[in-house]
């Protein structure tokens, strides 16, 4: 199979979420939406404009919004509350655990601006630990759509069943490579590319990276099966275990911490049923930082390049037994793993700053940032 990677447009998954909400609102009068001040960012503004009577602004109060949503749900409504994932997955963790999940309340949470690709806002806003918590919650459904089209389908899907659900989406525009007719069933992983040498299991924007990696690997003679694991919970154990049995090696890829995320869920299913060598692509037990989104994805190892490296390694492990012991957060072989965020002074050493100080303030409007070193 050959993909033409040039022909796809890019659009943020959050737009799919916003459109999905409007679609739901048209079909079901029980749908209500709660705003957390940043409605334009997470696209709940689309619902607000269309159905102002079913939109309620709660302000910057994520814990309150989550519990108000519970009350609405227990009174027969289908409430959606969306904010940045940094604030509506973990800040309200206790509310999600007790009020939403223990009640089995029909509350839907939209976690926007997820992952490191939030970019310049920095570590406070780059949520990388949400899935670890959310997938541990009884009754919770956790879905991570791979593109804009799937985000819309996933939003509608979680609005149509009764129970707690969380949809995780991003800020940046990412390739739109699925179609309206691409199958999507909650809880059912989809094989996006056939192959029997290794399985690459990914969610969110990393599915695209997995497809790019598979093309490159194919040129090396490695045929990778690419699986879109959009529903992280409940896990499609059958598709995952079948892939492990038929391919004999698995690499997972997610824009999330390696510790506790989708890859951990896959590993549990595989270890229990069909132990095979596994590698994990994700953030390696570190916080993010400010920077250009694409650059951060590269630095933190969240690109096809690191999937390729991990596949090469796992295929080697498949062929020969290893006696070495490696850390669970090591990506690729030693020495080829992702970098950490620069230490203070690495990119902008004091002597460079002091040199630049001579020309500060600049005449008029400064044209560009200081050049980093290296």
């Amino acid at each position: 199979m050959t993909m033409n990677f040039e022909k796809y447009d890019s659009k943020p998954t959050r737009h799919g979420f916003g459109e999905g909400l409007v679609e739901l609102g048209e079909k079901d009068e029980r749908i209500v939406v709660l705003g957390g001040d940043i409605t334009g960012s997470v696209m709940t503004s689309m619902f607000k404009d269309k159905f102002p009577d079913r939109f309620f602004s709660i302000g910057i109060a994520e814990q309150n919004a989550t519990t108000i949503a519970t009350g609405l749900a227990l009174s027969g409504k289908v409430p959606f509350f969306a904010s940045y994932g940094a604030f509506c997955a973990l800040r309200n963790a206790d509310q999600l655990r007790i009020s939403v999940c223990y009640n089995e309340a029909n509350v839907k949470i939209g976690g926007g601006h997820s992952g490191i690709s939030v970019g310049p806002d920095g570590a406070t806003h780059q949520i990388l630990e949400d899935m670890a918590f959310l997938r541990a919650l009884p009754h919770m459904t956790l879905v991570v759509p791979c593109d804009y089209v799937e985000a819309r389908k996933a939003t509608v899907a979680i609005g149509e069943f009764d129970g707690p659900a969380y949809i995780r989406f991003g800020r940046s525009a990412t390739p739109v490579f699925t179609r309206p007719e691409t199958p999507f069933v909650l809880g059912k992983a989809e094989v996006f590319r056939p192959g029997n040498d290794v399985a690459i299991i990914a969610c969110g924007p990393m599915v695209w990276e997995a497809l790019v990696a598979a093309e490159e690997l194919s040129r090396e003679g490695i045929e990778a099966r690419v699986i879109n694991l959009h529903t992280v919970k409940p896990l499609d154990v059958e598709t995952v275990v079948t892939a492990a049995r038929e391919c004999g090696a698995v690499v997972t890829a997610e824009e999330h911490q390696i510790l506790g995320g989708m890859g951990s869920a896959v590993a549990q299913a595989i270890v229990k049923n069909a132990p095979v060598p596994m590698e994990f692509v994700g953030v390696t037990d570190t916080f993010g930082g400010s920077g250009d989104p694409d650059h951060l994805m590269e630095v933190f190892g969240l690109t096809s390049e690191y999937i390729v490296k991990s596949v090469r390694k796992v295929v080697k492990r498949k062929a020969q037994e290893s006696s070495s012991i490696q850390s669970i957060t090591q990506v690729g072989e030693l020495g080829e793993g992702p970098e950490n965020y620069p230490k203070p002074g690495e990119k902008y050493p004091m002597e460079e700053l002091q040199k630049a100080e001579a020309n500060y303030p600049p005449e008029g409007v400064p044209e560009k940032s200081l050049e980093p070193v290296g």
Partner: protein, 280 residues
Amino acid sequence: MPYTNERQTPEKLSEIAGEIRRDIIRSLVVAKSGHSGGPLGSSDIFAALYFGGVMNYDPNNPWMEGRDRFVLSAGHMCPVLYATLANAGFFPRSELLTLRQFGSRLQGHPGRDMHLPGIETSSGSLGQGLSIAVGMAMADKLVDGNTARVYSLTGDGELQEGSIWEAVMSASHFKLDNFCMIVDNNDCQIDGRIGDVMNVYPLKEKFESFNFHTIEVDGHDLAALVEAFEEAKSVKGKPTCIIAKTYMGRGVSFMEDDYKWHGNPPNPAQAEQALADLDA
């Protein structure tokens, strides 16, 4: 040359606030993202606090024992804090042009991992900074028994976070007269006017009912701001809240009092206009 922390006249403070505002524009235009409105609107508060002879700090010894501390609870407003600290000599002003860049100490929201002098804590998840500041004030007054003071600035939209009122309750409970919070009351948040998004008013009565000494002040009147900070120092047995009435985007004609400028940077043409407005 950086300004010192000796008390400046209101006229000089106004000049410094103008320089802070220009630095905010310079850093944001090259960052190409970040928050303009709040930082410009609160520049006078920062000028009064850091250059009005209010705070005890030493840029050459930023972590000195017994220093007064400032916690920016509204972490997204960090461009004004960075500009203020640079003008106070905590780090070179040229570093302002690294705002939000990969590897910069000037993260999009303050990150303690970058060890930038003057940044006491990471912040950016709204409401949390205020509680951290309360903890610092408890360490000073109740544990160390020193006379250091702790200041913390919150936005008015930030007051919608429930944890704010937990912090306020404890500052009052522990009679933290070394604790002074400032509310940047510009009446704007991303989605609109505070009263439309989630009403937090009346403010003065709320803080008074929590047993705070409460001062309402024109947040662009530098003499009044310095006076308010000094009044706070004289209060015994209770914390102080200064409600500073400000205008978002103050000093830049096309940004002033417009909530749409909460989270956007100026483009180069807008920055040119902004610098011209600030020079006028």
